[in-house]
Symmetry: C2
């Protein structure tokens, strides 16, 4: 990584922030596929060519936005998941959905831009990795197929649940979503895994 903040030109910081903000606001108000570089640079009040001086493609800019925003959620889930044997799963779920509620815009962007297949795959893999690390020790998952299919299932289920919640105008509130999370995402999977791992899948 970059240990010192690596003194970056303030003009570059301004330009990049303007471009990011412009893309974010555009994704929130129209279809991602219909967004053009020209629109972004106009909204960012910068020259068209300036975009290409910082990014090669539109997807690259999108990735930068998502990577930045998702890093916090991922570490948050990871922290919660690691201590999940001891702590309350309902509370874990509630905290996740409270965080998502706070950063609702970011997650709306995430799901709208899943139109880019690569983005979706990457996010699913990132989340799956976390649950894989967190769940492997406590369950008796010696079979690699079971581990893969399970972590993929938890990851996609959680993301789908979040997407459903946002589409449903963030109802019900986080407290109840915590209960849904516990029973639908975690408990049910744990139950299924124990029946799966006793057979030669």
């Amino acid at each position: 990584m970059k240990s010192p903040p690596a003194k970056v030109d303030p003009r570059v910081r301004r330009t990049r922030r303007a471009l990011r903000d412009a893309l974010v606001s555009l994704i929130l108000e129209k279809d991602y596929a219909s967004i053009t570089i020209k629109e972004i640079t106009e909204r960012a009040e910068t020259a068209y060519i300036t975009f290409y001086r910082h990014y090669e493609t539109l997807d690259q800019l999108l990735m930068e936005i998502l990577d930045e925003g998702l890093a916090e959620l991922l570490t948050r889930i990871e922290t919660l998941a690691k201590q999940s044997d001891a702590s309350d799963l309902e509370t874990e779920g509630r905290l996740i959905f409270e965080y998502i509620g706070q950063k609702a815009d970011l997650f709306r962007i995430l799901f709208k831009s899943q139109s880019v297949a690569r983005v979706r795959k990457k996010v699913v893999r990132d989340v799956a990795m976390i649950f894989q690390r967190a769940c492997t020790p406590l369950a008796r998952l010696d079979n690699p197929v079971t581990i893969n299919v399970t972590s993929n299932h938890i990851s996609t289920s959680l993301l789908s649940l979040i997407e459903w919640w946002l589409d449903n105008d963030m109802n019900p509130p986080p407290v109840k979503m915590g209960k849904v999370y516990k029973s639908l995402i975690i408990d049910s999977t744990v139950g299924a895994v124990s029946s799966l791992s006793t057979m030669s899948v």
Copy 2:
């Protein structure tokens, strides 16, 4: 609908089939976003403007392909799900995955073209509707939120499982995927629903 087959000009049938086949083969070999109308018409050995004489957009042609191909899977799942209380869930799962294995190309196209967010939403809704109809009577689901969140969960989980299976070169075989389907998709959800419906979610 169109009760009689509505006598369609054989030239139109040929042209449309050529365009569909061309798009299918193109999606299987390259990124959907990079496919152009010109490429399709060239591969279909037809004139560029002919495309626009039959379809308004590329997405419309894609939708026609998927609607046609998915209709059979949907009715198949629906038939199986309706008699699921009596029949064997493992067999139900096996049959689903055997069918998917037969039509693997179609499903690869489906997941590749989920890049179009609208396509994804529609398919999820279609599958969710089926499970909603099938599951409502047998479980005690009086709460509309529980019904929605559950059918959405089953739908997205099943689609994710299918996508994972295709990405994993259709391993393990359908027999084992039937077991995974039963425990991970159905049993686990049924268990979760009973705990959810006893509380005021």
